[in-house]
């Protein structure tokens, strides 16, 4: 969209222009009513991004309101740049996860890189120093011609940004499935740390206070990015490459240091990063939350291109920019800090008492809009939804593959194989506080200078969500909670990144509603509230939707990191116990898909939230009591895969002699289960505590040796298992 500034606001708003802005005729009529007149082109542009699905959550808001968001640990729930929880001793963890799906499909390196950059800004905007990045990635099937290109681009982009800025990438997850062939998912999570009394919010108050722009200059990149993220893809989408932003992690590093330096003073009233819809959304949100008005003079905006129109400046999504409102008179001191870091600093406006957003450019008023309707006047849709029909149970199973061959095949499969090729490209250790990096159940990152650690994990099992959204939503939360629990940490709260198809299709909306119902129930039962999140809809290409993928990012705290346990056997002669009940549920399992080759939609394993809570609380207490040498949650691939993973970690085998070796038992994906290794002198206490708490445990065997041996049927060397596990991804990427 290139329009000359002098013509832009004289252009007549036609139906076609309204449609190009992603607005329906009804929405446009509402805008006209709010304005009391026909908007000009600039105003229409501003409304269109503020009312886009990406910024307004118009299809999802109704359902998001029903998620549990409270708890004594919650300092700030959804609605700010990121969620804030209390982790004790005056420390707060600030975190959020966000999608950058569409840009990453079009331009994987920059799309993924700017996703990481954006989520980090959301966190340091609030006064936190980012201390950990994670990412949840979904790619198309491995054999798809684009998959390798997308994997290598996305991984390089995530690494290129996070490594440079110097924040460790400590974990994440990756799935491959044909439903993502034309619409990959790149969800980036960032966790930061601040003091509870030094948290910064967006709300701007104080009429006359200066509005300050800092960071990079504004260019024409990313214009209409938020609108692009709110539409389906088709084959022509690659033509949208110019709307993908370009990241500069070096500038973000400088911006981070300069902002934290200024935040150490009390000069800032409100601060907001310029993310989706850039200058528009940041100024609207700040002024609206503070219940004031805002006047911007675009002549003052630092631009990197000439002859930019007001329309372009307001909608640009150029990266590494922040908007803040300072206390009057503190401009010089702030400017000095930003100049020292080599960053632009410009006073571009002031707060007013008008409750309007007024914009001038080249000596003329180019926009004058009421703030309230911009900020939260977008219609809230109760879109029609149909419940996903109940999936039948798996039946007529024909086990053709011997269990040892099945285990080998799973270890070398796309869903289980080691992700080392990916995470070795991420700096997982910078900042010197990574206690447990990628490859564990949850990452552990020490709170700098203390003995406690954050435990962080991202999880969702999309195939469960597709077959049964309610159960899938529950399971995603429960697995995140289990992963944190398995380190010994106490799970505190989650962020989510809800990736779905086109909400205008009732069956997709039904998936969304179902997943949120399950998620809400699990959050409630596990005291694991939602404190921030992001919704990404319209993940479809040519009418084919992705599997529903509500990614969960959980954060917990380990009060004494000396007590944390890993997920690998650490010594020979330990006893291996299984916590939780094994029913042998193979429906929706990886075994069904990869070994039986059956992709029919059948019921996933049920989630018993009471058992989840009881079993997890029991394990956490046992770890806290020093009884547990290693712990691992059971998920994809079930018991046999979990045993193999525990052996591989430190190359210590095991001998399992007390286990039924039917495929249902070995590969069933029953929930609420953990494997633990217990040293001989702790066995009695461990068993007594299980009995006292009425927790089902079973002694399976002992650690030791160079092989994984299960009964008479499985006997595989750790070396062979390791080669199978490690080779799949490098072979794919070669």
């Amino acid at each position: 969209m290139t329009l000359h500034n002098r013509h832009i606001n004289e252009t007549e708003i036609t139906d076609a222009i309204v449609a190009e802005h992603g607005l329906t005729p009804a929405e446009y009529a509402e805008i006209v009513a709010h304005m009391g007149r026909t908007p000009n082109m600039t105003e229409l542009g501003v409304f269109s991004v503020m009312w886009s699905e990406h910024c307004s959550y118009k299809s999802s808001r109704k359902w998001l309101k029903e998620l549990p968001v409270d708890g004594p640990q919650v300092i700030q729930g959804p609605g700010e740049n990121a969620g804030v929880i209390d982790i004790g001793d005056g420390d707060a963890a600030i975190f959020k996860m966000e999608s950058h799906n569409h840009p990453s499909f079009i331009e994987p390196y920059q799309g993924a890189a700017t996703g990481v950059g954006g989520i980090m800004r959301d966190v340091f905007t609030m006064g936190a120093r980012p201390v950990a990045n994670l990412n949840a990635l979904r790619f198309g099937e491995p054999s798809h011609p684009k998959t390798r290109h997308l994997v290598s681009g996305v991984v390089a982009g995530i690494g290129g940004y996070g490594n440079c800025i110097g924040v460790p990438t400590v974990g994440g997850e990756v799935n491959f499935d044909a439903s993502y062939n034309g619409n990959i998912l790149v969800n980036a999570m960032c966790v930061g740390l601040a003091r509870t009394d030094k948290i910064f919010y967006a709300a701007a108050t104080g009429v006359g206070a200066p509005v300050v722009y800092v960071g990079s200059k504004t260019g024409r990149d990313g214009i209409h990015g938020a609108t692009m993220a709110s539409a389906e893809f088709d084959d022509a989408s690659e033509e949208k490459r110019p709307t993908v932003q370009v990241g500069d992690p070096f500038t973000e590093k400088l911006l981070l240091e300069a902002c934290l330096e200024l935040m150490a003073s009390d000069a800032i009233i409100g601060i907001q990063d310029m993310g989706a819809a850039g200058l528009t959304s940041s100024s609207v949100e700040m002024a609206d939350k503070g219940n004031v008005g805002i006047h911007l003079n675009l002549d003052k905006v630092p631009c990197r291109e000439t002859h930019m129109t007001g329309y372009e400046m307001l909608l640009s999504e150029s990266q590494e920019r922040m908007l803040m409102v300072l206390k009057p008179g503190r401009e010089a001191e702030a400017e000095k800090i930003f100049q020292r870091w080599g960053l632009d600093f410009a006073v571009i406006g002031e707060l007013t008492d008008t409750n309007r957003m007024q914009v001038s450019h080249e000596g003329r008023e180019i926009a004058d809009m009421p703030l309230k309707p911009l900020a939260d006047g977008a219609p809230e849709y109760d879109r029609p939804h149909v419940k996903t029909p109940p999936a039948p149970a798996l039946s007529d199973i024909n086990h053709k593959v011997p269990v040892d061959a099945a285990l080998k095949q799973l270890m070398n499969s796309s869903e289980i194989a080691s992700r080392r090729w990916i995470w070795e490209q991420y700096d997982s250790m910078v900042m010197g506080d990574t206690i447990a990096g990628p490859g564990g159940d949850a990452a552990l990152v020490r709170v700098h200078g203390s003995h406690k650690a954050l435990a962080i994990s991202t999880d969702v099992t999309p195939r469960y969500c597709l077959a049964d959204p309610v159960t899938g939503g529950m399971q995603a939360v429960a697995e995140t909670w289990r992963n944190i629990t398995a380190t010994g940490a106490k799970p505190l709260a989650i962020t989510n990144c809800l990736n779905f198809g086109n909400p205008e299709r009732p069956e997709i909306m039904g998936q969304f509603v179902g997943c949120l119902e399950g998620m809400g129930a699990a959050c409630e039962a596990l005291d694991f509230p939602v404190v921030s999140g992001n919704v990404s809809l319209y993940n479809e290409t040519n009418g084919a939707g992705i599997m529903p993928t509500p990614a969960i990012g959980g954060v917990g705290v380990m009060a004494d990191l000396g007590k944390a346990v890993g997920n690998g056997f650490i010594e020979t002669g330990h006893s291996i116990y299984l916590i939780g009940e094994t029913m042998g549920h193979l429906g929706c399992s990886l075994y069904q898909r990869a070994i039986l080759g059956d992709r029919s939609q059948v019921a996933p394993p049920p989630v018993d939230l009471h058992a989840e809570r009881a079993n997890g609380d029991f394990l956490r207490a046992a770890i806290d009591g020093g009884l547990v040498a290693a712990a691992h949650d059971l998920s994809d691939g079930g018991l046999a895969v979990a045993l193999a993973e525990m052996c591989l970690k430190n190359a210590i085998g095991c001998q399992i002699d007390n286990l039924d070796d039917r495929p249902e038992i070995l590969f069933g994906e029953d929930q609420a289960r953990y494997l633990v290794a217990i040293a001989p002198d702790s066995m009695a206490a461990f068993e007594a505590q299980a009995e006292a708490s009425a927790i089902p445990i079973a002694a399976l065997g002992k650690t030791g040796g160079a092989d994984l041996t299960i009964g008479e049927t499985i006997h595989i060397s750790i070396k062979e298992l390791g080669e199978l596990h490690e080779s799949w991804l490098p072979d794919l990427m070669q």
């Binding site: 690494g159 290129g160 440079c164 070096f250 070795e424 490209q425 991420y426 700096d427 910078v430 206690i435």
Partner: protein
């Protein structure tokens, strides 16, 4: 003894190495700003890891031309001890205090993992707490750590005993010539290395092989 850590725009291991120096020294090192014309009074200068100047132009090249580096070079020639880690090693080669160049990794990807190192020279101020030939574990994290120099320079490094540490056989993460992980000046006063000793200097981080590098230099200079 006093140590100074140079902070370039884009340095990101400056705090990490300062933590290790403080543990060894008993007091915090000075943090010196790249734009200053002269260094504070110190015996040890540390160039930390990171992406100085965003790796623009070439890793370390812009940092090598920043104002403070003139004084770093002058003080090094005057006998100060200088340690360059990762990006700091790249800066040392760019400013001419050490020979050779760090090229992009042979595998063309960033690599972050533990590596096994062999201490080839334990008579430097930085390595005398290790045994000669000792194998230690220290992580690397870089995209340009592939040490390269022409044959004459490599021969000179060998002849003057300037190869301070190498990657253990079959553990070279980047394709470096002669498995070189770190080199030093003939007198051992200037050391550049790709691995990050500050990332493995306490048991909680998985091991403390890196710690002895800091205790050694502090003992030498105290």
């Amino acid at each position: 003894m006093q140590a100074a850590v140079i902070v370039f725009p884009g340095s990101n291991c400056d705090r990490d190495v300062a933590v290790c120096l403080e543990a060894a020294l008993g007091h915090a090192p000075l943090m010196a700003w790249h734009g200053d014309a002269s260094l504070p009074d110190c015996d040890l200068i540390v160039l930390p890891g990171g992406f100085s100047y965003g790796d623009y132009l070439r890793c370390g090249s812009m940092a090598a031309n920043s104002p403070i580096m003139r004084d770093v070079v002058a003080q090094a020639q005057n006998g100060a001890r200088v340690l360059g880690i990762c990006n700091g090693f790249q800066v040392l080669t760019e400013c001419g205090l050490l020979p050779g160049v760090l090229m992009q990794n042979k595998g063309l990807n960033f690599v972050c993992r533990n590596t096994h190192l062999i201490i080839e020279r334990n008579d430097t101020p930085f390595t005398h707490h290790y045994a000669q030939g000792e194998e230690i574990i220290i992580p690397v994290a870089h995209n340009e750590g592939n040490y390269f120099a022409d044959d004459d320079t490599l021969k000179k490094l060998q002849d003057e005993n300037c190869i301070a540490m190498t990657y253990a056989p079959d553990d070279n993460p980047n394709g470096a010539c002669l498995d070189i992980a770190g080199i030093c000046s003939p007198d051992g006063h200037v050391l550049g290395m790709m691995p990050h000793p500050e990332r493995r200097a306490e048991a909680a981080l998985g091991g403390d092989d890196g710690k002895r590098m800091f205790t050694a230099i502090v003992e030498t200079l105290s």
